[in-house]
């Protein structure tokens, strides 16, 4: 699982082995809740196989805010970083193989990593990049119509359209399931 990342980290083998040994493997069925709303996020997950959504309950309806797939890492980020109750659920969509690491272990790794300029800068870049991604996502919400957002999704994130049930996608796009269904059928007519 971790070999593919090996060359990204200028660490000697003993450190590398120590760090990877912190991760535990976890196999779960579809619709498994990995983090409850209100719980403090203490585990960071890396997805070996499967797909995960982040969502929250809004007046009885669930709103999905993010999807994650193979090789991505998932946590309720503010809860994880600041030890606050999570505003969201984290739940598998498909049966999944995951690796997770405890917050306290990550903290140990980070303290050490922050002393190595190259890795520290890599870490800072990652946080920045995450911010930029959120900004992009946000801007597309105020800029694009639902139809355009759906077309963007097909273009930029085909995995979501292919692997995720449609009603989750609808709430991710900020529209009702009925409306998404209408959008799809109108797009089909044009072809």
């Amino acid at each position: 699982m971790f070999e593919q990342f090996r060359n990204k980290f200028p660490l000697d083998d003993s450190k590398w082995n120590e760090y990877t040994s912190y991760f535990k493997r976890l196999e779960v069925p579809a619709k498994t809740i990995l983090l409850e709303e209100g719980e403090i996020s203490k585990r960071l997950f890396i997805i070996e196989k499967g797909c995960i959504r982040v969502w929250f309950n809004n007046n009885g309806k669930d709103l999905t805010t993010q999807f994650f797939f193979e090789n991505q890492n998932v946590a309720s980020i503010e809860s994880f970083v600041k030890k606050l109750p999570s505003p969201v659920f984290i739940e598998t969509i498909e049966p999944a193989v995951l690796w997770w690491i405890h917050k306290s272990d990550i903290d140990i790794i980070l303290e050490e990593i922050k002393e190595i300029p190259e890795l520290r800068d890599q870490f800072i870049d990652k946080i920045f990049q995450r911010t930029f991604d959120y900004i992009r996502h946000f801007v597309s919400f105020i800029k694009d119509s639902p139809v355009q957002r759906y077309l963007n999704l097909i273009e930029e994130n085909p995995q979501i359209v292919q692997r995720v049930p449609q009603h989750y996608i609808a709430s991710y796009l900020g529209i009702s399931t009925v409306h998404l269904s209408r959008i799809k059928s109108k797009l089909l007519q044009r072809k």
Copy 2:
């Protein structure tokens, strides 16, 4: 201008004086464009007095994405960090007194600061916090109705409602000027 921040930075006076000397004062009228769309953002602004908006042109209509007030700092963040053309304009709303620092000077300061654990962690916290703020803002967009978003704005950011022309606020809320006007009059009726 900078004395108020002095105690936040564990630096000796010589470093402090060097760093603050990088900043230049700038006084501009209302509706001054500080950064053009397409331009690479090379200046970070700190607002001593006045108010600024960040916006972009979407099919002939301008969409405002952010407002900034006294003591906040402003740049087209991804453009500034990655030296890419800015997708947005930065423009004063009121006559303003600003202090700005060149990207190359910030880079010098950051390189030094990253070696001081306390300041480095402060910097990392700032980036995280910015991300969390974007997430919050984004979530309120998919979660709340325009009426609720307007009420939140009054509650959480009264400065915006008080100092910013209403048509900018409308686009910031993701609605038309007419709709915002309707919302206001309906809220007045209820009282």
